[in-house]
Structure formats: structure tokens, C-alpha cells
């Protein structure tokens, strides 16, 4: 146990270095985005609901859009019958963006926060509000 000084010092230095990112960034978390739902089209809706319940849209919109794409492009089925029985045209441009006319609010805020980069807009046309 003659070298215990060195061993313990080395261990402390090691632990400090390894945990550095955790304590250096403690309390500095970026605030979760709160997208504003205030587009003129949404305000005019009698019942402010998307094609499905908000909670489902929040967690599963990517799966829904993926399925919409498959159905429209590959099956030629263009109408979505939602769980409440309403029919919607499955179109990013014509249905989604009609209400969600601000891409910065609806797409970019959360996608930037989570660092995901879906490449929808290289082909699909962004709503005019962003230009």
C-alpha cells in the first residue's frame, strides 16, 4: 500500500474527468419547445383537433405520415378515414400545411430541439409563411 496516494489521486482525477460533461452542464438544459398553435386556419376551426388526437399526433405523427405516403404513392389510396369517421385527403401540402402553415413553429422547433432532420422539404413545398 505504498502507492495509495498516487492511486487515489489518479482515481479522483479520472472520476472528475469522466463525469465532467454531467456536472458542467447541470441545470443548463435547453427549454422544451412550446410551439404556438396560432395560425389563422386553426383559429377558425370549430373544434381544434388534428386528424387524430393531439397526444397521438405528438408521439406518432411520423408513423402516420409514413403510412400516408405508402398508401398514396404505392396504393393510390388518397383518403384517410380518421378514427372519428372524418375523411381527409392524405397530402402534406393540401391537408397538413393547410392548418400548420408555419413550418418554423410546427416542424423546426421540435425537430431542432431533438436534433432530427427529416428531409421532407427538399421535394415537398414549404408553406409560404416561411418565405
Amino acid at each position: 500500500m505504498n502507492d495509495s496516494r498516487y492511486i487515489i489521486t489518479g482515481l479522483i482525477v479520472f472520476i472528475v474527468l469522466v463525469t465532467f460533461p454531467f456536472w458542467a452542464n447541470a441545470g443548463k438544459a435547453a427549454p422544451a419547445p412550446a410551439p404556438s398553435l396560432d395560425t389563422p386556419a386553426i383559429q377558425q376551426l370549430p373544434e381544434k383537433q388534428c386528424v387524430e388526437a393531439t397526444a397521438y399526433m405528438r408521439t406518432d405523427h411520423m408513423k402516420l405520415l409514413d403510412e400516408w405516403r405508402t398508401q398514396v404513392v404505392r396504393e393510390g389510396k388518397r383518403i384517410y378515414v380518421a378514427s372519428n369517421g372524418k375523411e381527409y385527403e392524405m397530402s402534406l401540402e393540401k391537408t397538413c400545411l393547410e392548418c400548420h402553415s408555419s413550418k418554423a413553429q410546427f416542424c423546426d422547433q421540435c425537430h431542432n430541439y431533438l436534433d432530427v432532420q427529416p428531409d421532407c422539404w427538399t421535394c415537398h413545398i414549404e408553406p409560404k409563411e416561411n418565405k
Binding site: 387524430e52 404513392v73 404505392r74 396504393e75 393510390g76 378515414v81 375523411e87 401540402e93
Partner: protein, 258 residues
């Protein structure tokens, strides 16, 4: 706890019955989503086109390009001037190039060198579909040879396979070359192949292809080749028509009256 053989079998039977009727219960309970085709959608088994060049030429000579312009507007087709990188969905080829196997030394002056409207032939046996490694190009149930741009990796096998040159590659970002953007139809991006989609998006909502609708001379006749009572079939039955490169066995669905 003691269970008699009799009670055990009863409980098992009840469970089995429950499982059998479960799908029906789920169906009646509603709350299920569905994907359906629009009630307005045109229905056909094998869409085809008959092009009457005799009707087209007088207008064409006056400078009519309505079918090209309608297609360009509907699908955000970039107007790339560089011949090597141009994007073509519907265009013209001289007779000799469109029908090389029909060409001969003493061809009638009335068709020699004349422009023929050409586009994707929506072949019944499409070589582009066979070679596509990602299944980005596929054949719809109604015969339309379609592209799923989401899946195209830009390998250009389809361009090599297509005997009609009906496919174009986006060598650069097409957006700066689009004159007038139609916000209802996506553009393409750099690195994907594109081609005529026979206006699948219009057919699915009950409209004929944009080129057919735009033609002021009525030179383009659209219809179901599988339906013997359709207008296209009536024309095919009564008049002599030709196809592009039929000897290749691709079975094109575009016919020409000369």
C-alpha cells in the same frame, strides 16, 4: 384449489369462443382508421393513350405547346436549358427517332422528319421496373408505371433500361429552374430520376391527364385499354395504329395514328 375436468373444459371453451368473436367485436366497436380511394377516382385496368398526330400537326406548326406547358405546370418540371441535363416528361421526337424500325429511304414526305409527341409508354412489361434495385419504380394496379421518389437512390439503371428515353436524371437541384411553382405537387431533388406519371394524382381524383385536357385539337385520347367499349379501344379497332419499338416486347400503352 381443485378444478374438475368438466369445469376446466368449460372455461377453455369460453376462452376459445371469445377469441373467435374478438375481430368482429373490434370491427363493430369502431374507432378504427382506414385508407380509401376517392369515390371520384377514375377506374381502369390498363390506362392507355391514342395520339392522333394528324390532328396535332396544324396546331403544332402554329406554335401550340399546350400539352407540354400543362404538364410542366402540373408537375413542377424544371426548364433546364442544358441539353445534357434536361428533364423531359412529354416532348417531341422526329419520326425517324421515335419509330427507328419503321424508317426507310422512301418514306412519305408527309411524315418524314415530322415531330411526334412522345412520353413514358407505361409499358405492360416495363424494363425499368424490372431493373430498379429499390422498387422505387413500380407498376400500379391500373397499369401506370409510377415512381416513388422517396425510394429512388439515383442509380439510373432505369434510364439504361428504358428503350424510349422517357426518364431524366436531376443532375442538379431542379428548384431554381422551375418557372412557376405549383404548391400542390412536390418538386424533385438533386440525384433522383423522374418521368411521366400519367397524372396518377389527377386520375385518383377523377381527372384525365393534364396533357389530354390541355390539347385544343383533341389529338390525345385517354382511356382504359382493358375496356372494349372505351374510346381508345374503338379507335384501335377501327383504325391502323402503331406503337414505339413493339419488337422489344415491352407492350407500350401509347398508340399513334399516322
Amino acid at each position: 384449489m381443485e378444478t374438475s375436468r368438466r369445469n376446466f373444459l368449460k372455461a377453455g371453451g369460453a376462452c376459445l369462443l371469445g377469441l373467435t368473436i374478438w375481430p368482429a367485436v373490434k370491427g363493430f366497436a369502431g374507432n378504427s382508421t382506414e385508407y380509401i380511394t376517392s369515390s371520384k377516382a377514375l377506374t381502369g385496368e390498363k390506362w392507355g393513350l391514342v395520339i392522333d398526330m394528324k390532328k396535332c400537326w396544324p396546331k403544332y406548326q402554329e406554335g401550340c405547346r399546350e400539352c407540354f406547358l400543362a404538364c410542366q405546370r402540373a408537375h413542377n418540371i424544371p426548364d433546364v436549358t442544358n441539353k445534357e441535363e434536361e428533364i423531359k416528361w412529354i416532348w417531341t421526337e422526329p419520326y425517324e427517332n421515335a419509330f427507328p424500325e419503321q424508317e426507310h429511304e422512301y418514306i412519305a414526305a408527309s411524315i418524314k422528319g415530322k415531330p411526334f409527341i412522345v412520353l413514358c409508354n407505361h409499358c405492360e412489361n416495363p424494363p425499368c421496373v424490372r431493373v430498379c434495385p429499390t422498387k422505387a419504380t413500380f407498376k400500379r394496379r391500373d397499369g401506370i408505371v409510377m415512381m416513388d421518389y422517396h425510394r429512388c437512390i439515383g442509380c439510373r439503371y432505369c434510364m439504361a433500361a428504358c428503350p424510349y428515353g422517357a426518364r431524366s436524371f436531376n443532375f442538379s437541384d431542379p428548384r431554381p429552374f422551375i418557372k412557376e411553382v405549383n404548391p400542390e405537387f412536390p418538386t424533385r431533388e438533386k440525384g433522383v430520376v423522374e418521368k411521366c406519371n400519367f397524372c396518377a394524382e389527377r386520375i385518383d381524383t377523377g381527372l384525365p391527364p393534364a396533357c389530354v385536357e390541355a390539347c385544343p385539337a383533341g389529338a390525345l385520347v385517354f382511356g382504359d385499354l382493358d375496356d372494349p367499349n372505351s374510346e381508345v379501344r374503338k379507335i384501335l379497332a377501327s383504325r391502323y395504329t402503331i406503337q414505339r419499338k413493339p419488337e422489344l416486347g415491352t407492350h407500350p400503352c401509347i398508340y399513334y395514328l399516322v
